[in-house]
């Protein structure tokens, strides 16, 4: 607009175009640099996410027209569908397992590795390696290892070792912890490296001081190491809480939610409803609900922090 105004007033031509070009450079050019990635993200993430809110209130099959049904999907989800409650419980069990086992393993290994000089790089690298492997390879490798007819467990079973004749992935009582174990095998080394980096940032004189005060290993860990890595630890507890409601890959690859729904989590329900039962509207409602759980987790952390918890 200003440029056209400038052209109709030759008297201003000396000053205005320069001002206008500078203005363009300052305000428009920076946006041109972010525009492509912004448009792609609107197309791939934000647009479909907003559409999901609408579709969750329809009876849409994924093809053709969608009839608006209000909150009927949510009503079915919360009050009529037993698989939703059971999947939610499995997510909570998953959360409990991942808040304890990998974090404990990561903390123990990192605090053992932190004082070591010889071979430190080698240990760090070797324990990190499972994290770079594809989930399909890890899943099938461990499925074979623990299979009672073949693999290591089968080999032990043939030699009469008690407790090795169980199909851990085929029983409703053991399937979920077993998949969590396999996922954790790949995951915990990553936590260890994060914790180790945090521990190496703790000033060494704090450890010296603890030693001079006669602190034992446990006291040193509790009073120096843990407070020192608190930001990393709290952040990973937050991320674990979020990811536990979204977990998908290992369960889908290994059991697809079976046997008899014993390893079904919310993401599996979304996948099955969308691509196997052709209930896209219902799947969208589950997706929205998962996002709400994530929102609740984040809100809890924000509220605790506002209340003055040092997290």
């Amino acid at each position: 607009m200003r440029d056209t105004a400038v052209q109709t007033h030759p008297s201003l031509a000396l000053h205005r175009p320069r001002w206008s070009r500078a203005r363009l450079r300052r305000h428009a050019v920076p946006w041109l640099f972010v525009l492509p990635i912004l448009l792609i993200n609107l197309l791939v993430v934000l647009g479909p996410a907003v559409a999901a809110v609408y579709y969750s209130m329809t009876d849409w099959s994924g093809i053709g027209a969608a009839d608006f049904v209000g909150l009927a999907n949510y009503q079915e989800l919360f009050f009529e569908d037993p698989s939703f409650l059971s999947a939610f419980v499995h997510n909570v069990v998953w959360l409990a397992m991942f808040l304890t086992v990998p974090i404990a393993m990561g903390l123990i290994a990192a605090s053992l590795l932190a004082p070591i000089r010889r071979g430190a790089l080698f240990f760090r690298l070797a324990l990190f390696i499972p994290y770079v492997l594809p989930s399909v390879v890890v899943a099938h490798l461990w499925s074979s290892l623990i299979h009672p007819d073949r693999g290591v467990v089968g080999w032990l079973n043939e030699r009469g070792v008690p407790g090795t004749d169980i199909a851990l992935l085929g029983r409703e009582s053991t399937v979920l912890p077993t998949i969590a174990f396999i996922d954790n095998w790949r995951w915990w080394g990553f936590l260890m490296v994060l914790f180790l980096a945090g521990m190496q940032n703790i000033p060494p004189d704090l450890f010296e001081a603890a030693r001079l005060d006669g602190a034992n290993r446990w006291q040193e860990f509790r009073d120096v190491t843990l407070p020192g890595i608190r930001p990393v630890l709290v952040f990973m507890i937050l991320m674990t809480s979020i990811w536990s409601f979204l977990t998908f890959d290992f369960i889908w690859i290994i059991t697809q939610g079976g046997p008899a729904g014993a390893s079904e989590v919310l993401s599996i329900l979304v996948f099955k409803n969308a691509f196997q039962n052709f209930e896209a509207g219902y799947a969208a409602a589950i997706g929205i609900t998962m996002s709400l759980f994530v929102g609740v987790v984040i809100s809890i952390f924000v509220v605790l922090r506002r209340r003055g918890w040092e997290i």
């Binding site: 004082p115 390696i129 490798l141």
Partner: protein, 280 residues
């Protein structure tokens, strides 16, 4: 042994090494078993699933390459990785440059937007995205999946590249600006060459994420000729689950490129992935 202070426990690291070696065996043992089993015959695995192979059955690899259709899937995965890495580096690098160097009005809002976008669960937008891609003909298309990978990996890339570019001295840019260079020239000729380590880190992390990706590749590439090494292995390993030597040989071929590149660039990988974990 009279020590004035403490119990002298700063001396003995032996217990540390014992536990760490046990954890090392836990982490690498299964991989070692996989590599050993990849050269055993099917008959031998049943007898001897743990030990060294008696005979080296190298033909397992040729058979796995053939049956697993690796000549196609490796190319497919390579194309997806290349497209996604280039896309994230170019488009993410541009955005990072704008955020770090150009006084973008609304930079704070944009950062918040990227943070929110990158924390939305995939399962929230998966179904509408699938239908949208089907409607506009991007289903079963590498371009279609690359666009999705770029969108999902760009926020992390932008955060890492932005913090890298913020550390660069302004002198070179200012000199170029005085000489009348445009912003694109400054970006392409000065800022990118100076921040190449940041670009390398982001490129490696994105390449690994795309090479290993499972869910989206399963949903968006359903044509068997378009399968990636990952989605094809899922079918292959399920079909041949009884043939452990074959699935092991295929797995070794899939992870060998990853491990070689990871070991060469391990410091950049670990730095990029841990910072990504902390920020993304």
């Amino acid at each position: 042994m009279n020590r004035p202070f403490g119990r002298g426990r700063d001396l003995s690291l032996t217990p540390n090494y014992v536990v760490l070696v046990a954890l090392l065996i836990f982490s690498l043992g299964p991989l070692a078993i996989m590599v050993l089993n990849s050269v055993k015959s099917r008959a031998e695995i049943g007898e001897n699933p743990l030990g060294l192979p008696n005979d080296f059955e190298w033909s397992n690899y040729a058979r796995a390459w053939e049956v697993g259709n690796f000549s196609t899937t490796m190319v497919n995965s390579g194309l997806l990785v290349a497209g996604s890495v280039v896309g994230v580096l170019v488009l993410g690098g541009m955005a990072a440059y704008s955020l770090a160097k150009l006084n973008l009005s609304g930079a704070g809002a944009l950062m918040l937007f990227l943070l929110v976008i990158s924390s939305l669960p995939i399962h929230l937008f998966l179904v509408p995205l699938f239908v949208l891609w089907r409607e506009i003909g991007l289903l079963n298309s590498f371009v279609g999946l690359v666009i999705i990978y770029i969108a999902l990996n760009a926020p992390l890339g932008i955060f890492l590249l932005r913090s890298y570019m913020l550390q660069l001295p302004r002198d070179f840019e200012d000199a170029a600006r005085v000489d009348g260079a445009g912003e694109w020239q400054i970006f392409a000729r000065i800022v990118v060459p100076l921040s190449w380590p940041g670009f390398l880190t982001v490129g490696l992390v994105v390449a690994l994420a795309v090479w290993n990706e499972f869910l989206l590749a399963t949903v968006f590439l359903q044509d068997e000729s378009k399968f990636t090494v990952i989605t094809s292995y899922q079918n292959f390993a399920t079909r041949f689950s009884r043939d452990w030597s074959l699935t092991s040989a295929a797995a070794v071929m899939m992870i060998l490129p990853i491990l070689v590149i990871f070991l060469i660039f391990q410091r950049r990988f670990i730095e990029g992935m841990t910072q990504g974990g902390m920020k993304g």
